[in-house]
Amino acid sequence: MFGLSNMEMEAIQLSLRVALWGVAWSLPLAVSVAWLLARGRFPGKILLDGLVHLPLVLPPVAVGYVLLVMFGRHGAIGAWLFDEFNIEIAFTWRGAAIAAAVMAFPLMVRAIRLSLETVDRKLESAARTLGAGPVDVFLSITLPLIVPGIITGVILAFARSLGEFGATITFVSNIPGQTRTLPLAIYTLIQAPGGEETAMRLVLISVAVALAALAVSEILARRTTARLEA
């Protein structure tokens, strides 16, 4: 398709799959964490805040190494997943998705949290007087009101996931068809003689994918904000 080689198609498809799964799995967790940080009052809140933001400030290689220690075949979580469910994380595309999700997590949480903090709590108490319990209020009032923030968070996280390199290569290595996403493919091509031309094509494809994602988010965000604006 479009004169792309198998290796290029593979890298694009893998990148999209890794980014989509990474975002999909981390979204519910990000909403919960954002809610805790925006609304919760509990000891250790600052610690949780710091923990969530760690991937933003740590070298990606360090994050990758921590993931390897935890999710590797002999790591605490990795061994359990393999023994109980026969799921292998290290050196598979699932590991790549986890690396992408962890690296993008702070961005997603931040966007959703900001949005949650602007929700008018008075609307929630109005809903309570109309017969809605706390969970009902969250689902019918709060969640719809933070949709713009969720969209922003998802797109930021998606874009960050597409570009993830350091943590991925450290955690799950550079295996064609399993963990060689676009950035890793570009890196590999540049390392080999004569790969510059293909590398440039992949760079341009990356640019196109990123721009498309941003455009979609902009359209969605505008549509929902216009509807919500009073």
């Binding site: 109005a126 309570r128 007087t129 109309l130």
Partner: protein, 375 residues
């Protein structure tokens, strides 16, 4: 059927302000909760609605205990069946008007015929708004939707927190007739929070006066407004008297209506209501003139004779005189005229009220107490 009793006995302290309220009223008709801003009106209805929790006390509506610190009862707002119309409307921006109106209805079920969706939409004239979003509504329209939404949540008591405060005069007049309709239809008891005496006279039957977190008085609107000791609170807005009257006749050729009250008859601009309707008339002190000799033909039909009960000369250039003409009537005149007329307590004088001074805003429909009962 006897109306349920709303029992309030609560203490609550928020950031230095203490609220200490003890009051028991039949939940029926419109009860005004009157007080200046900062007197604790909104805090009090938040306690009733369950949006904040009192430090101690008891709140009950009929047999249902909403809060009891001793027995450890604190029903969450969603279980209290108390509708709340907020000052700012608080419509849900992500739902259209139909969605807003049915939000509470979906969760609590429709309440018979009188508070059915179609009936409330008709009552508040909301049909043309149903598919629109809150952002495109005017302030008055938003408040009507907020009232409808609360009515449709099948409440046993409706709290209205200064629903007109954020509206300009034109929009207020747009809403007032709807509020008047709520009194008898669908007949849900209402607590109406306001610091505007004009609205209260027009709408409410009973008034609870609160100041600095305490109940100062509780009773019929007319009674409280004629009480002298409450004047510093009730009268500063616009001094006047409130008189209970009955519509007894019309003089169509002059566009006037005849009202009968304890002091005689009063001519007012045409009131388009059936004869026999009980009314509440507010007469501003500045629209009442006093003389010591019986006036002849002076263009004022409404002339009454009575003794001066009290005089006040608080503002220097003006004097306010309370005359007993069968009901207490306040008159305001300049301090100079008062002196020239040699007015004094105990003296008899004539009071004249201009018919045109009584406008639609000063007439409130009075609830017939016990009259409709079939016992």
């Amino acid at each position: 059927m006897t109306p349920p009793l709303l029992q309030l006995d609560v203490s609550h302290t928020i950031s230095g302000f203490s609220l200490d309220i003890s009051v028991q009223n039949a939940a029926t008709g419109i009860t005004a909760l009157f007080g200046r801003s900062g007197s604790g009106k909104t805090s009090l209805i938040n306690l009733i609605a369950g949006l904040s929790r009192p430090d101690r006390g008891r709140i009950a509506l009929g047999d249902l205990v909403l809060f009891d610190s001793e027995r450890g009862i604190d029903l969450p707002p969603e279980q209290r069946r108390i509708g709340y119309v907020f000052q700012e409307g608080r419509l849900f921006p992500h739902l259209n008007i139909r969605g807003n109106l049915s939000y509470g209805m979906k969760r609590r079920g429709e309440n018979g015929q009188l508070a059915s969706f179609d009936h409330v939409v008709g009552l508040l004239d909301l049909e043309y708004l149903l598919n629109r979003h809150p952002s495109s509504l005017s302030g008055g329209e938003k408040q009507r939707v907020a009232i409808g939404r609360a009515l449709l949540s099948n409440p046993e008591l409706l709290l209205l927190d200064e629903p007109l405060a954020s509206l300009d005069a034109a929009h207020k007049n747009e809403i007032l007739p709807f509020l008047e309709r709520l009194r008898g239809d669908p007949g849900i008891p209402i607590i109406y929070v306001s610091h505007n005496m004009e609205e209260i006279v027009r709408l409410a039957d009973v008034m609870v006066l609160i100041s600095e977190g305490r109940v100062l008085a509780n009773g019929n609107v007319e009674d409280l407004l004629s009480r002298l000791d409450l004047r510093p609170l009730t009268g500063r807005f616009e001094a006047g008297s409130v008189i209970a009257a009955t519509l007894v006749g019309h003089e169509k050729e002059f566009g006037l209506s005849r009202l009968s009250f304890a002091g005689g008859e009063l001519l007012a601009p045409m009131v388009d209501l059936p004869l026999g309707t009980p009314l509440r008339v507010r007469i501003r002190a500045r629209d009442v003139t006093l003389t010591t000799r019986k006036p002849s033909q002076m263009g004022a039909q409404n002339i009454y004779h009575g003794a001066i009960i009290q005089m006040e000369a608080d503002t220097g250039s003006r004097a306010e005189v309370l005359l007993d003409i069968g009901v207490p009537l306040w008159a305001r005149l300049s301090a100079k005229s008062a002196q020239e007329l040699k007015l004094a307590v105990g003296m008899r004088a004539y009071a004249m009220i201009k018919s045109v001074a009584i406008d639609g805003h000063s007439l409130g429909r009075q609830r017939v107490i016990g009259g409709a009962s079939s016992e």
